[in-house]
Structures are given as C-alpha cells and as structure tokens.
Symmetry: C2
Amino acid sequence: MLDKTTRINYLFDFYQSLLTPKQKNYMALYYLDDFSLGEIAEQYNVSRQAVYDNIKRTEAMLEEYEEKLGLFAKFQERDQLLSRLKELLGNSSDKVLEIIDRLENME
Amino acid sequence: MLDKTTRINYLFDFYQSLLTPKQKNYMALYYLDDFSLGEIAEQYNVSRQAVYDNIKRTEAMLEEYEEKLGLFAKFQERDQLLSRLKELLGNSSDKVLEIIDRLENME
C-alpha cells in the first residue's frame, strides 16, 4: 500500500487539470514544495485553517475523481502488463522495445 | 477526421462518470438509443428546447474534459502503438499476444 502522500501526489498528477488555480497552487506548495500550512497561509494572507480546509477538500475531490475515472488504477495495471511484456520480450528488436518504452511513458 | 456523432459517442464513453444522472440519460437516449429531441422532451415532460440546451451544454462539457484530460487522444495514440507492436510481433508466443490484447482492451 502506498503511503498517503505518494498517493495524493499521483492523483494530483492525473487530475490537476480539473482543479481551480488556487487549489492547484496550495496543493503544489504543500505536496511538491513541502511548504507548511502556516507558510502557505502567510503567503496568501489567509488563515492557516482556510488553507487546511482547502487542501482537505481538494484531496477529497481527487479521490472522487479517481473513484469515477480510475486513471491511477489503470496506470498501475498498464504498467504491470508492460513490465511483464518487457520481461517476455527481453531479446526483441530495438523497434519493439522502443514502442514499449513509449507506451510506458504515456500517462 | 471522425464525424461528430462518433466523436461524441467516444467522449461520452470516457467521461460519462463525470456527468449528472439527467445529463447521462439525455445523452444516452439521444446518442445511443437514437431518440429524437421531441421524444426525449415528451418522456421527461419538458420542452424540446430544454432537452436541446441540456445536450448542447453536455457536449461542450465533454469537449472541455477532453481538452483537460485528453483520454480519447491518449486512447487513440496507445491504440496505434499497440497495433504496430502486434504487427512487429505477429509470430510471438500466446502469452505475449494475450498481454497485448489485454492492453488493447483497457480504456
């Protein structure tokens, strides 16, 4: 089981285009840049509680999107299948491996 | 270029989980079951114009989701890569082909 921070980071990656600019900024500062709630509050001139509430709501939204669209779950499933394919095809031509690489690097 | 109905059908497939129940029903009746606007209006006891407006708004939402998440575009890209892989690996073992099939059948 992934720890919560890693999971939220993945979900943010998949669904950030569906968030508002403010939600995106708070999440990026908190999860990617490791700012504290207090530091974000200071930067945006709002209360620490307001930042906390916004981030909690955004996390819930990300989980809701994942429940509906399952992009992260599908990504994990695809990733496993591609790894097995690579194992089975270890000695294949460069062309084959290049296509598998491209598939692996798609979201 | 896909015709509009086919494209909307695909987008509906990818994003219907993000629509409201009413939006889903109207779209399914209109696009999947080929009901006319008048028939849907009668069934829901609303005006033909109301059904039309709802469907147009939903179509715009589907295009907006595609712009943000690009699931249909990625599906097409992946599908092409997998077809090429299959061509290159036409004589491979059943195991390899089974994995490619599973990848092809994921959304």
